[in-house]
Structures are given as structure tokens and as C-alpha cells.
């Protein structure tokens, strides 16, 4: 009897040890994945949504209009500084009053990073307004479309490895470590993406055709405060053709050497224009453009080196909700 008990005890210990080892294995795997994860993916910048029931679908005219918008930074760029703002518009200001026309600043929102792969939890912006008496205006019910617009500065950073072959046409038995080829880069955790880098190797130089696309579904426009101010729906100065679909190329580096000065076509301020693409429904928000940059004076055997592209721009996203204002019975 004692022996049986002892065997049973041993078996329990063995099961416990196996269980611990397995759990430790799982933990290690998770830990490893998290830090290997490429957080510079995705096509979103700031994501907005209305807080539940704020505003409600129906509001009586003796109640206060309370709009709460949750903001999440789903991209890989930190949003900071007081220039980034959220505006509420689209309503009749004779009926809904008290909404600030200067918008509400967006609090600093940390983007995705290696230690925060999902982006910061969220921050909120609030708008409070008053509804004028509908009864005295002979109105029983009035639909209003509330448009929330976020205007913010953002960046796209591409960092990929490319193969540089200074002598691609050489006839040699020497084995090359890499062959220059085009790379699909997808997205970089921002609404503007470098989608593809086409590599064209020539003797002594390599040319890069870098494709840039608006993949976020919003509107991209020139970086800088003066343009950010024009994004305010109440501003007398509106964003126009000369402002929208422009992205500033801050730098293009290959192996630590800046080749930005070789990039074409850029304007005097380093902007590239994205041209709207046609969809089945007509012109869409998806602008696409490319620039051609050149790395000159390379020599030696082929090698792999990082290419870095840094883009700056302002971005506008919006969400909309219809509310029904009702005359108090």
C-alpha cells in the first residue's frame, strides 16, 4: 500500500514538472514573438469612433448635445504637439450652439512601437453643445449629420534591405551574395505607404523607383501648420488643389548615404504629388505617385544594405453620425 502511494506521488511530481516545462515553453515563445514583431505595419494613423451613445441617436431639444470621440493611434508615429486638432461640424449652427469652431487639441498619443505594438489605448475628445428650442420654430424633428474631422501631422518610415550590385552585367564565376530585385513593401503603420521599391542596377549606379500611395482612406495634404490650419472646416482658407495629395520627402538613404537630392520629381520644398486613381465609382481618395532616386559611384562586389525613406505630411480623417433632434413633447 505504501509503495503504491509512493509511486502515485512520483507520478504526480512528473506530471507537474512536465506541465511547468510546457508552460515555460509557451511563455518563452510569446515573449520572443512580441519582440520580433514588426510594428511598422498597417495602413492607419489616428482611428476615431464615437463613444457608445455619445451622442445618442435621438435627443430632445431641452437636453445638452454631448459628443465623445475616442481616438486611437493605430500607426507607428507618435502624435504630439498642440497643432493636431479634432473639429465638429456639419450641423446647423442656428440650431446647435456652443460648439467651438477652433476645435479641440488632440492629447499626445504614442504610436505603435516595439514595446507597444498595439498603439496607446485611447484618448477622448469631447464637444458639448446646446440645442435651441424646436417648438418655437415649428419643427417636430430635425436630422443633423455630425461630422468629426481629425487633422494631424504624421510620418511614414520605410526601412528595408536592398541589394546593390555595382557591376550587374559582369561575367564572373564568383558567387554573388545577392541579386538586385524589386521589393514589395506593403505598408509601414501609417496612412501613406511606400508600397514598392523597384531596383534597377547599372554599372556603377543603382536607380530606385519608389512608389507612394495613400492607403488610409483619408485626405493627405502638405505638412506644416499653415496647412493644418486650413484643415479646420471653419477656416476661411480652405485646402485646395495646390495643398492636397502632397507628401514631403524628408530623406531617402541607402546604406546611410542620403540620395534625396537625386530624387525626381520633387518640387522646391521636397514635395511629391500623388495623383488620384480611378475606381469603378469614379475618382477615389487613393492617390498614387512615385519618385526615382539614384545611388551613384558604387563599386565592389554586390552587397545588401538598408534603404530608408522618410515621408512627412498632414492627414485628415473623418467620421459621421446622424442624430435626430426632437421637440420636447
Amino acid at each position: 500500500m505504501f509503495r503504491v502511494m509512493s509511486l502515485l506521488k512520483k507520478a504526480c511530481y512528473i506530471v507537474l514538472i512536465i506541465f511547468l516545462v510546457l508552460s515555460l515553453g509557451c511563455t518563452t515563445k510569446k515573449y520572443k514573438d512580441r519582440y520580433d514583431e514588426n510594428y511598422r505595419t498597417g495602413t492607419r494613423g489616428i482611428e476615431m469612433r464615437f463613444a457608445k451613445n455619445s451622442p445618442p441617436l435621438r435627443i430632445y431639444d431641452d437636453e445638452e448635445l454631448h459628443v465623445i470621440v475616442e481616438l486611437r493611434n493605430k500607426g507607428a508615429t507618435d502624435v504630439s504637439g498642440g497643432n493636431n486638432r479634432v473639429y465638429l461640424s456639419g450641423f446647423d449652427s442656428n440650431i446647435i450652439t456652443g460648439i467651438p469652431t477652433t476645435g479641440v487639441p488632440i492629447e499626445d498619443l504614442e504610436g505603435k512601437s516595439i514595446y507597444n505594438p498595439e498603439g496607446e489605448l485611447y484618448t477622448i475628445v469631447e464637444f458639448k453643445g446646446n440645442i435651441r428650442d424646436l417648438g418655437s420654430r415649428n419643427i417636430d424633428a430635425l436630422d443633423q449629420d455630425l461630422l468629426v474631422t481629425a487633422c494631424y501631422e504624421y510620418k511614414t518610415i520605410l526601412a528595408e534591405a536592398v541589394c546593390i550590385d555595382p557591376d550587374p552585367y559582369s561575367v564572373s564565376s564568383e558567387e554573388k551574395v545577392c541579386t538586385p530585385r524589386d521589393i514589395s513593401t506593403g505598408s509601414q503603420g501609417a496612412p501613406i505607404a511606400v508600397t514598392r521599391v523597384e531596383v534597377d542596377a547599372m554599372t556603377g549606379k543603382t536607380r530606385f523607383k519608389i512608389w507612394i500611395k495613400n492607403v488610409g482612406g483619408g485626405l493627405v495634404f502638405k505638412p506644416g501648420f499653415e496647412y493644418l490650419d486650413k484643415c479646420n472646416p471653419y477656416s476661411p482658407y480652405k485646402l485646395d488643389y495646390n495643398d492636397i495629395d502632397f507628401v514631403r520627402v524628408d530623406d531617402v538613404k541607402v546604406g546611410g548615404i542620403s540620395i534625396k537630392s537625386t530624387c525626381k520629381p520633387l518640387d522646391n520644398y521636397g514635395h511629391i504629388k500623388l495623383l488620384p486613381t480611378r475606381s469603378s465609382k469614379g475618382a477615389s481618395r487613393t492617390g498614387v505617385g512615385y519618385m526615382i532616386c539614384e545611388l551613384d559611384g558604387v563599386s565592389g562586389p554586390p552587397y545588401k544594405t538598408p534603404i530608408t525613406v522618410v515621408l512627412s505630411y498632414n492627414y485628415r480623417d473623418s467620421i459621421q453620425k446622424r442624430v435626430r433632434l426632437l421637440r420636447k413633447p
Binding site: 435621438r58 461640424s89 456639419g90 450641423f91 446647423d92 449652427s93 442656428n94 440650431i95 435651441r132 418655437s136 420654430r137 415649428n138 419643427i139 417636430d140 424633428a141 430635425l142 436630422d143 443633423q144 449629420d145 461630422l147 474631422t149 485626405l219 472646416p233 471653419y234 477656416s235 476661411p236 480652405k238 485646402l239 485646395d240 488643389y241 492636397i244 485628415r316 473623418s318 459621421q320 426632437l326 413633447p329
Partner: protein, 315 residues
């Protein structure tokens, strides 16, 4: 005891059903339909045949099926003096002190709490006269004419888009478009609103919203100038200018519009158009938005129903 949870669940389900019904009630739209006042004879009142020298009842039910209240509506009885006399009126009415064939009434229209509108039974007792010796029967016509002042209240959102040439890249909640309508719970209806936003002739930063509103008499009666509606039911004469006239008032976001003409004469087909303008204009820098357009039409309305009664000689 086992059935107790079932009973509780049933009660909860039933109650939640009631709650939904109540909240749905808010959505009742009373401003629909082309009916205003309706009037119909009660069964056998008047009877098809009456003996000479006898009393008989003419009964009608007045129903306000529209969305406007009727104050001081007039009900006029039309009878042949040589064959029928008025004895007395009954009902919640005001009798005329100078004309026994006229009465006044008030009748509430449809509301969210009474979506059928108010009804009013009215009876008038008549006396048939004796026929000539040579006459065995005589068929006389009893007419009842209702004249009342009525309102059409139109209320909808219209898009105010200050980017009239579509040059800016502003996010818009709406775009300007013409809208077609059926009815608003009254016999005279607004059937179309065409919206135009035009630049101000003097001020560059001001835009003028302008609405071309089509008005249509879709009921079965006639439209009269509102100030003379009572005359249509009395012996006072009406001029041609008083017929088919509708008074128009409109506001945009509570601001009064200038409507031209302010008294619109409907054409022979019962339709016409009026132009209403916000002369003070709106700021060009405003973003697009939905604004409440409220149009109020005031008019008199009249219609008649009739029934034949045969008066028979008694032996």
C-alpha cells in the same frame, strides 16, 4: 412552482414588447396624407323618403383627418325653402344668431397622441313642408358645405452647401439637390423643393439660399383666400381673385425667408410655384450642413356633400 420561472419570463417579454411599442410611437408622422376635413352622412340621416309635414334628421360626422386644427369652421346647410325648414341643430357647435342654416365648429387635427384626428357628430332636425295638391312626390336635395381655414406645415432638412462651384476639398455632410414630396397631412401640399445657393450681388462673402417651392391642391375641394373663407359658406359674394389663393410663409433655421409672391394664386391645374429667399444670406465660410426648412401655407378650403330626399304626400 415549476411554472413560476416561465410565468416571470413571459411577463418580462410582454412588458419589453410594450416598452418598444411606446418608444416607436415617437416616430408617428402626422404630417402625411392629403386629407383635411372630411364629412359624411350618417346612415339613414337623412332618410331617402319622408312624408310631407314631418320632421326628419340630417346627421353628419365631421372628421379632421389632417394635421391642422380647425377653429371657427363653418357648416352651411343648403335646402329648398319651399319644401324644407330648419327645426333645430344638435352637437358641439355654435349656432348663428342671424341665420338658422349656419353653425360653427372647432375640430382638432391629428396629433402624435391622437393620430386619427378628432370627430364631431352634428345633427340638424328638418321639417318637410306640405306638397301641393297636384304633387304626389318631390325630390329635394340637401346640401352641406364646410368652409374652414387650414394650414399646411412643411418641415424638412435641406442641404446648405456653401461650396457652390465644388472647388474645395472640404468633407461635406450633404450635397444640394431638388427633392420631391407627396403630402403633409393637408389638402394643399408642397410637392417639390428646388434648392439653389447663389452668390450675393453686393457682398462677395455672402451667399443667398433660394428655394423654389411647388404647391399643389391635392384635395377634393376648392382653395379660397384665407381671410374670406367664411364668406364662401354664407351669402356674401366672393370675387375671382379670392379663389385659389394660398398665403406662404417660410423660415430657414428659424430665420424668415422672403417669399415672392407671398400670396400665391394656384393655376387651373391646382399648382403653382413660389420663390423663397433668405435675403440676409449666409456666411460663405460655413461648412455644409442640414438646415430645417419650414414652410407654412395658410388657406381657406371648402367642399360640399349632398343627398336627395323624396317628400311623399300622405293620404
Amino acid at each position: 412552482m415549476r411554472a413560476l420561472p416561465l410565468v416571470i419570463i413571459t411577463v418580462i417579454v410582454l412588458f419589453s414588447g410594450c416598452a418598444r411599442q411606446t418608444s416607436k410611437g415617437i416616430d408617428i408622422n402626422i404630417h402625411t396624407g392629403t386629407r383635411g376635413l372630411e364629412m359624411e352622412f350618417l346612415k339613414n340621416a337623412p332618410p331617402t323618403q319622408v312624408p310631407e309635414g314631418s320632421t326628419f334628421i340630417v346627421g353628419v360626422v365631421l372628421k379632421n383627418r389632417g394635421a391642422s386644427d380647425i377653429h371657427r369652421g363653418v357648416l352651411a346647410l343648403g335646402i329648398e325653402d319651399d319644401y324644407v325648414q330648419v327645426d333645430s341643430w344638435r352637437g358641439n357647435i355654435i349656432k348663428s344668431s342671424y341665420n338658422d342654416r349656419l353653425v360653427w365648429f372647432d375640430l382638432e387635427g391629428k396629433t402624435r397622441f391622437n393620430p386619427m384626428g378628432e370627430q364631431l357628430p352634428v345633427q340638424v332636425q328638418l321639417i318637410s313642408d306640405y306638397l301641393d295638391k297636384q304633387t304626389e312626390t318631390y325630390t329635394t336635395t340637401i346640401l352641406l358645405t364646410a368652409c374652414y381655414q387650414y394650414k399646411t406645415l412643411f418641415n424638412d432638412e435641406v442641404c446648405i452647401d456653401t461650396d457652390i462651384y465644388g472647388t474645395t476639398k472640404e468633407e461635406k455632410v450633404c450635397t444640394v439637390k431638388d427633392k420631391v414630396y407627396g403630402s403633409q397631412g393637408a389638402p394643399v401640399a408642397i410637392t417639390k423643393v428646388e434648392t439653389r445657393i447663389v452668390p450675393h450681388s453686393d457682398y462677395e462673402d455672402v451667399l443667398i439660399p433660394e428655394f423654389v417651392i411647388t404647391i399643389h391642391n391635392r384635395g377634393i375641394g376648392d382653395v379660397i383666400r384665407p381671410s374670406v373663407y367664411e364668406a364662401a359658406c354664407t351669402s356674401s359674394s366672393l370675387s375671382h381673385d379670392d379663389l385659389n389663393v394660398v398665403r406662404v410663409e417660410a423660415t430657414l433655421s428659424g430665420r424668415r425667408l422672403k417669399c415672392s409672391p407671398s400670396e400665391l394664386k394656384l393655376k387651373e391645374n391646382g399648382q403653382n410655384k413660389v420663390r423663397c429667399t433668405l435675403t440676409t444670406g449666409i456666411d460663405k465660410e460655413m461648412t455644409s450642413y442640414l438646415a430645417p426648412l419650414v414652410v407654412e401655407l395658410d388657406y381657406g378650403y371648402m367642399f360640399t356633400i349632398s343627398r336627395d330626399v323624396e317628400i311623399r304626400r300622405t293620404v
